[in-house]
Symmetry: C2
């Protein structure tokens, strides 16, 4: 099956796969739906530091070199060289593929010393109407869409090899799209009404490469020559450096040897680096200015810089002499490129086993991981990884939807990712890192301002930065405890005999450092073997949960909450009640229900029991994950229960901490889960999506009253906690960018018109279908999350269960990279991910469920 890029110009590209079967395919090579980049042979981009720097001459020289000068083995073998010019303007007067076709044929005639012949072809695929009219003798296939015509233009010649009866070498030159005016493609499109979607262009490009690579010629090369400079717009207006990014092919940069050319070359190189490209070599024309020396020195000799002889200006010169003089340069270039190609493939092949030898992965039993199951990630773009895959002896780079949003950190689409890249570069260069206490810098201040105007709006007045969720929680607990001590007047002398605890919900999780661990109920994670110092310093309540089953929202009430209470019967009745929409579930009207009264009675009783009766247990704070228990298995807590709990604690002056590390920044469809819940904490923690998913950064927000509990005369009473990279400028800069991006309707198409939340991302009908599937116990679909609990019994259920592993395998084959929490699987997208992409992933899951059941 083939991949298609559904590129939206306004928001850059978000990749979606179409379930169409690939026509021209090496179909046996891979069973997944698309070998994105076939690494069987070298394929390179040819970039230019400007227009007119000689890209086409480099392509031609390289082609001639590969076809004539790469006979390292004793017995000559045929070669194949695919030259692609995706975008050509000024056509037919200018045709780079025609130039390469003709020149290389001539060069072959002169240079080839073996008996092998060359079949050289030039093929022009689609042209604008005005361009087609410039070729009166050429047949045009009508019926073209978007103002582009299929041109039936094909020229071929055979050179040399007359006394040889083996296969010929092949030169395939193709112009994919051409327009008449010699201007930027996006303007030519406008003028000549011949538009091509980026997705279509990339799909064609992929098919052409696949077609050439599927031939049985061992020595095959492909180069794709761009138009103009690295950041010149393509036909849709998207810059070419962005347009071709999904392939992330390695590249050659044709530098500028003229006056000013050092600057253009350095800048172009940096633009490519800022898109995540690898540049194998720079090659430039000699203008007698020694630009190569300056470049070599600036690039610290890390990238080879080759120099071509000066190109004759006389248009009547057939360049044969120039090519001859350049021959060694192109041999050198070819060798550099081939070595880089081999090195990449070799490294990709060895990374998995090397990783198994020296890395120590978090949460991983290494004994259960074989190197075959290790995923080698070559890059990511937006919501997709590109992973290395070996099928037989062939290597591929294949895209996979990052369904776990890389531990719930990810939010950027492809366009935001590039913006964030520019931002990290800028912040590193402007600041690196600078000391934070008693200092201020723009990124930290702006980030704090945006948080207080956003997630902290209406309650928070202070921002304390740290590095990750776990540290943010430790800080929150210290804040909450101090406030409680200040309010309750407990001194440290009397307090030492108290059992100082935190109130929390069973099933919640707050991080892996000891202080955060103490706030969670005993579990696999907290056993003596894991952390001998853990004692479980919480009082843990059992919360009621909500979920979709058979298409309806339902509530499940734990026995501890139901039993021994007067209203048991009423409450039991309520559990039968269900809701047709998530809006009903969150409705404030539910606050006056019988169920709510039952919750209140339970909570009051528990709080009274703990603090009363002369016991020494003291509750210093309440900590909850609002709405969803993430690591605890994506359980939704009944919002009514959490609302009452918060209200009751605040009434008793127990500081309330919201752990929004997972839920913050649109994860559940609102900027904060507090907003969704409709009540405000005293302290809240954020991390993960805060930086848009680029680097670690965390923040603990607090009300001014919390801060004031530390505002004393002595330093000893300050909050003596800190981390070296507190408020680091790189993190705060990307956070600032991401926070704004997600809540701006001009960049986030998923925002509702009222600006208050994201529209539904998971197709409601499909969610209902999934929730009714035989294999499924419950579903929670909210914001960017769609979690599915599989029906499982006994040891198949729970966190340590490997029950879902075969389903995960099926989905990875199908291009969805998923991780499970025991028998709970989930899809997670970013705040800007298109609902179409979400639907496509969920559909894959739905279909995989059948195969999963069949395999049980």
């Amino acid at each position: 099956m083939a991949i298609s890029y559904n590129l939206c110009r306004r928001h850059g590209y978000s990749i979606s796969r179409l379930l169409s079967r690939r026509g021209i395919s090496k179909s046996s090579a891979t069973s997944s739906d698309g070998a994105e980049v076939d690494l069987s042979h070298p394929a390179f981009m040819i970039w230019g530091a400007n227009t007119g720097v000689g890209k086409t001459l480099v392509s031609a020289g390289l082609a001639a070199s590969v076809l004539c000068d790469s006979q390292s083995s004793a017995k000559p073998i045929p070669s194949q060289f695919l030259y692609l010019k995706p975008v050509q303007t000024g056509f037919p007067r200018d045709s780079d593929s025609r130039f390469v076709h003709r020149k290389v044929s001539e060069l072959f005639r002169n240079w080839n010393s073996s008996h092998i012949g060359l079949q050289a072809s030039n093929h022009v695929l689609k042209v604008s109407v005005p361009a087609s009219e410039e070729m009166p003798g050429v047949e045009v296939l009508e019926g073209a869409s978007d103002g582009l015509r299929d041109l039936w233009f094909y020229e071929e010649r055979r050179v040399g090899g007359l006394d040889y009866d083996g296969d010929d070498s092949k030169l395939l030159c193709k112009t994919m799209y051409a327009w008449k005016e010699p201007i930027s493609p996006h303007l030519a499109v406008e003028k000549e009404m011949g538009a091509v979607q980026d997705s279509v262009l990339l799909q064609s490009l992929k098919e052409l490469i696949a077609s050439a690579f599927s031939k049985t010629i061992d020595r095959t090369w492909c180069v794709i020559e761009t138009a103009g400079g690295v950041a010149s717009p393509g036909p849709s207006g998207v810059l070419q450096c962005d347009l071709y990014r999904p392939f992330r092919l390695p590249g050659i940069l044709v530098g500028d040897g003229r006056l000013g050319g050092i600057s253009c070359t350095v800048s172009s190189y940096e633009t490519l680096k800022l898109r995540g490209y690898d540049i194998v070599a720079i090659i430039l024309e000699d203008h007698g200015l020694s630009n190569d020396n300056a470049l070599l020195s600036y690039l610290r000799h890390k990238i080879p810089v080759l120099v071509m002889p000066h190109i004759p200006c006389d248009p009547s010169d057939d360049l044969m002499r120039w090519f001859f003089e350049s021959r060694n340069v192109f041999i050198c270039l070819q060798n550099l490129m081939y070595a880089a190609y081999m090195k990449r493939v070799d490294r990709l092949r060895h990374m998995a086993s090397k990783a198994g030898e020296i890395l120590w992965w978090p949460f991983t039993q290494h004994k259960l991981v074989s190197s075959e199951t290790v995923t080698v990630i070559d890059s990511r773009l937006g919501e997709h990884f590109s992973v290395h895959k070996v099928v037989g002896v062939h290597d591929f780079i294949v895209p996979q939807f990052d369904a776990c949003a890389s531990w719930w950190t990810q939010g950027p689409d492809a366009t935001l990712q590039i913006e964030l890249a520019r931002e990290t570069g800028y912040a590193t260069s402007r600041y690196g890192h600078v000391m934070f206490p008693e200092n201020v810098h723009e990124p930290a201040l702006r980030c704090a301002e945006l948080m207080l105007e956003g997630v902290g709006k209406g309650w928070a007045s202070r921002v304390f930065f740290s590095d990750n969720g776990s540290t943010a929680i430790e800080i929150a607990l210290k804040m909450g405890f101090r406030k409680f001590l200040a309010d309750s007047g407990i001194h440290d002398t009397i307090a030492k005999n108290m059992d100082f605890r935190v109130l929390a919900l069973r099933g919640s999780y707050h991080g892996d450092t000891l202080g955060a661990m103490e706030a969670q109920a005993p579990s696999t994670y907290t056993g003596f073997l894991q952390q001998p110092w853990y004692s479980g310093r919480g009082v843990f309540l059992d919360p009621p949960t909500a979920y979709i089953s058979d298409g309806r929202w339902k509530i499940s009430i734990p026995e501890t909450l139901m039993c021994g209470r007067e209203k048991t019967n009423d409450m039991c009745m309520q559990t039968g009640a269900d809701f047709s929409s998530v809006k009903d579930l969150f409705s404030f009207q539910r606050g006056s229900s019988v169920l709510a009264d039952g919750y209140l009675a339970y909570i009051s009783e528990q709080l009274t029991k703990i603090s009363g009766g002369g016991l020494s247990t003291v509750l210093g704070a309440l900590i909850i994950e609002p709405v969803i228990h993430g690591a605890g298995g994506m359980q939704m807590v009944d919002p009514v229960f959490q609302r009452i709990l918060v209200r009751e604690c605040q009434a008793r002056k127990i500081p309330v901490i919201f752990d929004e590390v997972f839920t913050g920044f649109w994860r559940l469809g609102r900027e904060s889960a507090a907003e969704l819940l409709g009540c405000q904490p005293d302290i809240a923690c954020y991390a993960k999506l805060l930086t848009g998913g680029v680097v670690p950064l965390a923040a603990t927000l607090a009300r001014e009253e919390i801060f004031e509990a530390f505002y004393r005369d002595s330093k000893e009473e300050a909050l003596l906690h800190g981390h070296s990279y507190s408020g680091h400028p790189v993190g705060c800069s990307v956070a600032t960018k991401a926070i704004r991006w997600f809540k701006d309707t001009s960049t986030n198409p998923n925002l509702c018109v009222d600006g208050n939340g994201l529209k539904e991302l998971w197709d409601e009908g499909l969610v209902q279908q999934v929730s009714s599937h035989f294999a499924v116990r419950r579903v929670v679909a909210l914001g960017t999350l769609c979690a599915i609990e599989l029906r499982a019994e006994g040891s198949d259920a729970g966190y340590a269960s490997l029950y879902a592993s075969s389903l995960i395998r099926i989905l990875r084959e199908d291009g969805v990279y998923m991780r499970s929490l025991g028998n709970v699987i989930y899809l997670m997208c970013g705040p800007c991910t298109s609902p179409d992409v979400c639907r496509a992933q969920l559909l894959k899951v739905y279909r995989a469920l059948d195969r999963f059941i069949a395999s049980q």
Copy 2:
């Protein structure tokens, strides 16, 4: 006093201050040695996307607009416009300052509607010999150095304002350095033998701006027009975008309106962003290609893009008409620039108070911080911050040496900082962040490989990534404990009744999360008010310490170690012993001394006491900061004591953890402190300098035996600890770059020829002098650290003391940003910092000590 940039081409610039008094100065404006950038008036760089894009026309148009079109007030007031062309080639045929001088005079004659006249001057300062010979009628001042001649060329004209008796407006045009050949400045220098050091160029530039800004003309502007493109080399070969970075002036980018110009403009913009510059507007010539539309769209309308009319090609055109048609564009540009200037100054002025309102700083008693003492950091470059300073009503940006290395994280010099910026941009674009467990990506794998070949060489085989020192320590403890349990065969059922502890040294510090806190002895940080859950789960030994006093290394032995032991007398004698060099102190021969025997006896006795006698206390691990207790006051522990302690623990199968969060990566002159100590841990933690000081990243390294204690059949026995950004690609990428940079002799000039360590960075004689100063109790100078404990008694001593605050104030005035640990102050540089810079800072400290004593 003035600042001079001591720029070294090979390693980019490292800024050093010369203690020379500034000639032309606004000397009363600031008492510190150098107002780096005077913000009294707008000053902008004019950058070009290429050569020949019209930078000089923009400069001229802007100058004319400022001088004629900015009379917003009712009563016209005189203006001053300083046009600087630091580097001119093709001189005297080409002279941009002459062009601006002439054109603006003419335009003023035509445009000026007020009664104010204009005095316009053009001044050429220094030219190469061949260039001077092209001006036969002009007097040349001989005696010039470096092949450059002082040219006595000055032309002036007065225009308009004849019936006006007030001050004239002024246009000052200056060419600072000129060469004859119309080629890149670095080539012209080579050819004409007229070199200028970057430091000298920047110093002259600064003086010229200061001189103009010191005049009493309210309306003053300055523009500095660069040569060629943004990344064209300056006279020394350093790219201009790097050359001018210390000023980090805001800029205008003159874009390229030609075919290919979108690419050049985008790339040039990105090159400037990658250097931390702010670009206020892009302006480009209209070539009928609507490049401005593409740029506006790509830059998301965040940066204004202005279009100038097409420039007449006819060389005989006097351009008067063109300027007239462009007049509104330049008014618009002027307004944009002025608004950006005002916005920047306004923001800088309000940041300190805003910070005090919404930030919550770590380790800070906010009540003790007034907004006047808050440092507003505008940027950093290498070892220096640029901070905002207000003197009277004037705003300045002033450099300060970051003497605390921003909480010991910093290592980069200016060149490395730019390299790291390119690296963060690349890694963000290539990966953003990707899921780590059971996955592998190049940055994490490479970073792990480099750590195992470096700091972990000879013992470690596994790398566990986390986010900061504190998390790395929690992980290390979990590793150590598990290994201990596995070795000792203690099951969790029997273990629950044991008092499970860690062996540690008093005075050590390991982080602020609860698990890390538990491993440190009770202190201000660990009190009930700070963390009610802290109980101090260590057994804490008192270590002997080493220091320099009166020019000699000495050892101090704590009473607990000395008392009650047979050899007390001998040991007491030993305390009198001292060492002439740090090499003697670390000598392995000391292992067979009487003192060492005493240490061994004490340690054995303690270990036996703890584990013997039927007590339930169990030591699960030893944790130490090797060589230096950082946060504990920069105390050096006698290396012999730590060596024996490690050996004895390892002999008893107690896993040994080195906390190298502070000491790792050359902080103490070796890549690891373990190397310096000469013994190997079982587990070690790294953070801070690991990323070169850019973003948080931590790693816990372990021996294979430690890893094997977790290598079991069940997931429950795996190390169930992790953080969302485990092994994040951005952090691992910069770490890879930094690790290589610091240990490569081609990038780190401080490496000894044997490659084993850094040469002495702190001048030995000066250190001895400081250690003999009346105000000083002890000094520890090792690697990048020079710590000084001030003599202080009672409440003046210890962490919470504010004793050093007046000394810190003196040093901040003198350009050294220092923080103290109570009565301990310290200077910390990077692994590549020039010893000259270190000496200059230490000299400032030495001098400040006298003033400090005098003020007591």
